[in-house]
Subunit: 340 residues, 2 copies
Amino acid sequence: MYKPITLKDIAIALDLSPSTVSRALRDTYDISEKTKKLVNDYATLVNYQSNPMAAGLRSKKSKSIGIVVPDLANSFFSQAISGIESIAEKEGYHTIISQTKDSYHKEIEVINHMANRYVDGLIITMSSETTEYTHLQQMHKSGLPIVFFDRIVDEINTYKVVCNNFESCYKATTQLIENGKRNIAFLANAPQLSISKERIGGYKTAMTDQLISSRDELIKFCPSGGSDYEEVELAIKQLMALDESPDAIFVAGDRLSMACLRAVKNLGIKSDELSIIGFSNVDIIDLLQTPISHIRQRAFEMGQISMTMLLKIIETKYPITDFETKVIDADIFWMEHLSV
Amino acid sequence: MYKPITLKDIAIALDLSPSTVSRALRDTYDISEKTKKLVNDYATLVNYQSNPMAAGLRSKKSKSIGIVVPDLANSFFSQAISGIESIAEKEGYHTIISQTKDSYHKEIEVINHMANRYVDGLIITMSSETTEYTHLQQMHKSGLPIVFFDRIVDEINTYKVVCNNFESCYKATTQLIENGKRNIAFLANAPQLSISKERIGGYKTAMTDQLISSRDELIKFCPSGGSDYEEVELAIKQLMALDESPDAIFVAGDRLSMACLRAVKNLGIKSDELSIIGFSNVDIIDLLQTPISHIRQRAFEMGQISMTMLLKIIETKYPITDFETKVIDADIFWMEHLSV
DNA sequence: CTGAAAGCGCTAACAG
DNA sequence: CTGTTAGCGCTTTCAG
């Protein structure tokens, strides 16, 4: 069995008490510089690694945080994770990552597991299946610091970090209209998601403001979020079969955007027939056959902010009550023929 | 503070001893069905969650394993992770994921952290910076089960899972030659990586077997693995500036392949000037402007096998001595003009 | 500034 | 089959 050096080993070797060694290692105030140096030098020498489980068991702190995202294979999330880690590392926090694959049960299981491992806090993007938050609410009430990222939960009062979903959709839709588009379809993720609601809101409001009636038949939901290609192809087919078929389509998700491109390609729809704009953080969008207009979220930055917020909750002495929701601008990239 | 129900709480509530409750919960053999049911029902009722840290501290087992990969934003790895998780989940194991960003120091830090959290085992893809394995060797010797995945370490005797790097490169190179290519360049990841050596080996051997002398100036290393675009563009520029410039290029990495496509595009190199074949597990390769010939690894399957191997080590009663290296076929997809 | 003692939540060894 | 006891490695009172 793997048996590392323990704090006790150091204590014996240096003829000190375990508590003194513990204090020296943790750099508390009531310890002499001399002992501190002695202990730390020896610890480095023997490559001592403190045991976070034992420490956590006692102190209920672990200097590590959990990250829960729906899907690691999504550039948006992997970029955000890198942002989170960039701050965590600097502050001496470890990160533990898990994916839910958009499953409610996996989400519960993963979150429980992390909480039991004494993560000091959680950064969460909700799974698209989740409609029930009691598991989170309970933990949050008991004092587990949580920051919501991207897909947020209104019912839980804490820091939240999102992009300006409403505004960017409003803006993009308006510009489509200014470019003469009238039948703008909207392809969304699962309807219960906060991002779906916000994005549709921006789209609909823009339509109304431009005096175009938004037709419900133009809005399609794909609960799989694009991981089920058939679902997306079907949606596109149905849209194109409408009496007044769309001249543009707004795709409100990353995997969804790619699935949409694939469907358009497979169905042989020409790009001058249907303009596409979609959310996407894919890092090879410049290499696509049909490089689409896209809304790119500042994922890395959003990750950094999330971690900063989480640290604020974790390290505060007094409970925070005035939580903010940080809204980060997204960048819109237009293909030439639409860039007004 | 988040304070969950403990095993002791159950013991008191049910007027049993903690050990009996522990046994009932863990379903050991020496416990009556009646007590087992009583305990488990009550546990479910109060939503008891066992504390893996406390359990781990005592038993040195945690029913969780660590996954260490260089980069989560790489489809190959995220697909493999899903494969690992599919088995882990079935067997009741949790997974903890970390990325090293190809940094040696981060790798050490991450692995230490996981070992200290009593993961029961590790599935590792080495960072490209790593040339020193003492940290791993030591842990492995002390009994920590390790499975190497993709980028392996010869010096450590354990299970390893790789794709048939040599053979697929040999085969692909041969086919390029049969298609009339003579000046085949090779773009590799960091030279110390096992995959780099194996892939170059396949390429060189094929050249020799086809009586084509392989010129060293045609082989370029990009230690960043494609995450530094400039590095790749420079390599391509240098290759194209050669007196006998390449008529084909073999790209031995996923990010590298995409960076190469970008360079080719940016430098205005025509596709009939330079045929490209590259390793890639990108899931939108069919949507690329220049869909390249590519070698696709069965990442999900490789992940599943890795986890299966790891479980074998973890759950065996007697130490394993005859470790295998599982070699999984990769699939080659040719663009039409090269498909002989 | 340092040490002794208790205990985090759980499992394991030993009785019975 | 169940209870008792001890202890995993660390932190945290509480003394001194």
